[in-house]
Symmetry: C2
Subunit: 119 residues, 2 copies
DNA sequence: TCCTGAAGTTTATCGCAGTAAACCTTATAG
DNA sequence: CTATAAGGTTTACTGCGATAAACTTCAGGA
């Protein structure tokens, strides 16, 4: 399995952990119950699988992420653009902005981000 | 089911059709066999489901798309950004560009696209 | 009249993601 | 000692997406 590929349930779970890490595993069971409606065993099953894949770690009942949020996001955005937009960022942006107009301020911020990635 | 949501297999299939529409259904069976390795019945099963959901149409053995590519792309990009980036385009761009540097020319094109969406 | 190929449906199998019940082990408060 | 809670694992069911085998219907050529 590709390292960063997350299934839907895993995705929600990992996002939850990024928001709360490091977190005690019993706390995590409570949190998953509240936010995702999961039973204890579900939490531990998903947790273990993600640990086996090197995405999370659980040491002495303290859970944290090995894969950093930014890296996983990078992977996901890249994968999506490849799959849906032929790998073309301009094609993506065009599609996305078609129904999402920008304020001047937002536009300026985006342009700054682009300039920083240029050359 | 949300109208534009496509599963993996459907996704590939619809992309194939966008590239070839309008296309005779028997031709499509051949095409799906060549490009996706599908049997005839698989093609017809997937086709029918997508027709029922109003995404494709099959009239007198002529298959075409009801949902336009640009709209489906827009939906997908939006959904992904909501799910993975909290709905934030800047967050998305930052992540994507972290490992993807741009030439001056590409940067200029992106800025143009952004300016067109501002106003 | 029979055959063939186009066009499509009915019905099923199968693997996997999602979810959890039931069980286990160890530490420790009473 | 012993009941309880923390911190898990083992095992399994279930629904659904992916895929297809087998059947049906009908038009048109030999």
């Amino acid at each position: 399995m590709e390292p960063y590929k997350l299934f839907e349930a895993e995705h929600k779970f990992v996002h939850l952990i990024w928001e709360h890490e490091p977190i005690n595993s019993t706390e995590l069971v409570k949190l998953s119950h509240d936010k995702l409606g999961w039973k204890k065993s579900t939490t531990y099953t998903v947790l273990r699988k993600l640990c086996e894949r090197g995405i999370l770690r659980n040491e002495d009942a303290l859970v944290s992420a090995i894969v950093k949020k930014a890296d996983a996001q990078q992977y996901e955005s890249q994968t999506m653009i490849k799959k849906t937009f032929d790998g073309s960022l301009p094609q993506f942006l065009t599609a996305f902005l078609k129904e999402n107009k920008l304020t001047e301020k937002e536009a300026a911020e985006l342009k700054r981000i682009i300039e920083e990635a240029a050359e």
